[in-house]
């Protein structure tokens, strides 16, 4: 890491640490949401940015894990130490099943994942004796590990921040491993990787399951933040927005999905306070990103830096 980046990272970390005392509870809550959805977007980007697979069913893992935690904690008083891992496990098991979609590629993969997503949403919505139907499951407590319990949104903010940093670093290591490089190879040219003796489908399947596990973890963080979960968490727009976040921020990067989450959630909360057509604004962001900034904010920043750097070189 070069020095400029190190300084930038240190400043960002300091800002993140200072946020709750500097900005108050509303912003703390909103930024917590940005971290959580950023993590979901990161899980979508694991497939999208590195393997070239566009999944529209990630809300399923997110929601199944959130429901599992909520039902265990609220109905059966299972402690966090068991409920949270159970949530991740449930979401990951679903990913093992849905991962069979990697038998297809391209547009079929997209369409199949949409159908999968609707099945999960339909179950959450209609199997009301178990899922609570439309009202969902409410009154989820803050997480607690034995005597160490979270008691405020500020504390929870720091917990999520720590979780996000750990996930980000782990993701970085992972993507530089042979496995991560293999994924990119498949994205660049699957047939070449096959001729090199790679079992590409197995490789993609593993990536899908891993990505589902990460989305499930985001679901755990989400349910403890929201304190409730309902079918909206499993719905198609959540999957679409997660993908949008990754693309707006910049695919194939770690910071990108989080930047994207900040932009999307920030826009939604800010624009909706004064402009009625805020869904149209969101749509315009989609369109603009695809057409003019396919590399997302990270790409724009890179271009600016390149230009700025050149300008600096010219001045003696």
């Amino acid at each position: 890491m070069d020095r400029g980046r190190a300084v930038l990272a240190a400043v960002a970390l300091a800002a993140a640490l200072a946020l709750p005392s500097a900005a108050g509870p509303f912003w703390t809550g909103l930024v917590t949401q940005m971290y959580i959805f950023g993590l979901l977007a990161l899980s979508v980007d694991l497939l999208l940015g590195h393997a070239g697979l566009f999944s529209l069913t990630h809300a399923s893992f997110f929601a199944v894990s959130a429901y599992t935690v909520a039902i265990l904690q609220v109905r059966y008083a299972v402690p966090t130490a068991l409920a949270a891992p159970a949530g991740i496990l449930a979401g990951t098991l679903l990913a093992l099943l849905f991962g069979l979609a990697v038998r297809t590629r391209g547009v079929y993969f997209i369409l199949i994942t949409i159908a999968f997503g609707y099945v999960v949403w339909g179950v959450a919505h209609r199997w009301s004796s178990f899922t609570g139907g439309d009202n969902g499951v409410t009154n989820v407590p803050f997480p607690a590990l034995g005597a160490a319990a979270i008691t405020s949104h500020t504390q929870y903010y720091y917990l999520v921040l720590a979780a996000v940093i750990v996930c980000g670093l782990g993701y970085r290591v992972f993507m530089r491993s042979p496995f991560g490089l293999g994924l990119r190879g498949i994205k660049a040219s699957e047939s070449r990787m096959q001729s090199l003796g790679f079992r590409t489908s197995a490789h993609l399947y593993a990536a899908f399951v891993l990505s589902g596990a990460l989305a499930s973890f985001a679901g755990v963080l989400y349910v403890y933040y929201n304190k409730f979960v309902n079918p909206v968490a499993a719905s198609f727009p959540v999957s679409v927005e997660a993908a949008l976040m990754a693309i707006v921020g910049g695919t194939g990067t770690i910071i990108g999905p989080f930047l994207g989450a900040a932009v999307v959630l920030g826009l939604r909360n800010w624009v909706s306070s004064f402009f009625e057509l805020h869904a149209a604004v969101m749509g315009a962001v989609f369109i603009a990103t695809v057409l003019w900034a396919p590399q997302g904010l990270v790409g724009i920043a890179g271009r600016l830096r390149a230009r700025f750097g050149k300008a600096k070189e010219r001045t003696p």
């Binding site: 547009v107 079929y108 099945v119 057509l277």
Partner: protein, 287 residues
């Protein structure tokens, strides 16, 4: 019981007719141009709203059908020309772009027509019930819908299989390089086919709006059904869209009648399975 079974069959077929109108355009534009247009549902809704306004102003349902479809040709052309065309063949970008387009269209339509459920006024002679043998009443409009679906299906089929234009399109679906090489104006061909797809979507909106009503969110509800039709039938296949629409329509009607609690499973579960064992759908091909 028997009467119910027959009624449910007609229910399923009439829904299938509507879904076919939407899915055929979707599947053709994919087959020829490799365009995945998620704004197709929004085209349906916008066409329906425009048709509604035409029907209210002129009192003519036929004019509403044609006008709603024609308006979407224009909208669809502009979106295709200035937005979708710029994504090349990147499906991922197309999906995102067209979802964005659908958001914009839906929100603008909400601002213009409001959030109420509006019903396109069908003429008196199309409304009311037909009395079938055994004193069974059935809405006349549904038969009209089935008729419309079949008529469009036959017309598309003839166009596709019997005309020179259809031959070129079929050739294009099979091998685009080859069509390019024959010196046919591929660009004009694309514009025509995407215009046809837009027209069908807009007209479906008017036809469906007289039966399912129009309201914010209808664009996604109908799109998901149409996508399932296309998945089952296989992308790019006209036969697939026909068979797929029938399967989805009948599954929906019988599923809701026999297993009401599990209607989502009945519709999407088998389709997810089909995908795993026949991922390209019934008539799909490798792309």
């Amino acid at each position: 019981m028997l009467t119910s079974a027959v009624l449910q069959a007609i229910n399923g077929i009439s829904l299938a007719a509507l879904l076919f109108l939407l899915a055929s355009g979707f599947t053709l534009s994919f087959g020829l141009m490799r365009v995945v247009n998620m704004a197709h549902g929004a085209y349906y809704l916008l066409g329906g709203y425009i048709g509604l306004t035409i029907a209210e102003k002129t009192g003519s349902f036929a004019l509403a059908l044609v006008g709603g479809g024609a308006a979407i040709i224009v909208v669809g052309y502009l979106i295709d020309r200035f937005l979708i065309r710029r994504t090349g063949e990147n499906h991922l970008a197309q999906v995102l772009l067209t979802v964005g387009v659908a958001f914009v269209i839906g929100d603008v339509a909400l601002a213009i027509w409001g959030g109420d459920n509006l019903m396109v006024p069908a003429p008196k002679f199309l409304k009311g019930a037909v009395i079938l043998p055994g004193d069974v009443y059935y809405p006349r409009y549904r038969f009209v819908l089935i008729f419309l679906g079949v008529a469009v299906g036959v017309a598309l089929w003839l166009l596709y299989k019997k005309t020179q234009l259809g031959a070129v399109v079929r050739a294009g679906v099979d091998d685009r390089e080859q069509v390019n090489a024959t010196g046919i104006n591929v660009d004009r061909l694309f514009v025509m086919v995407s215009g046809l797809a837009s027209f069908l979507a807009g007209m479906a909106g008017v036809a469906g709006g007289a039966f399912l009503t129009l309201y914010p969110g209808a664009e996604w509800e109908i799109l998901v059904y149409a996508l399932v039709v296309v998945i089952v039938g296989g992308l790019g296949s006209l036969e697939g869209a026909m068979i797929g629409a029938l399967i989805v329509g009948l599954l929906d009607a019988y599923g809701r009648w026999l297993l009401p609690e599990f209607s989502y499973f009945v519709l999407f579960g088998p389709i997810a399975l089909l995908m795993l064992f026949r991922p390209r759908g019934l008539f799909g091909r490798e792309y």
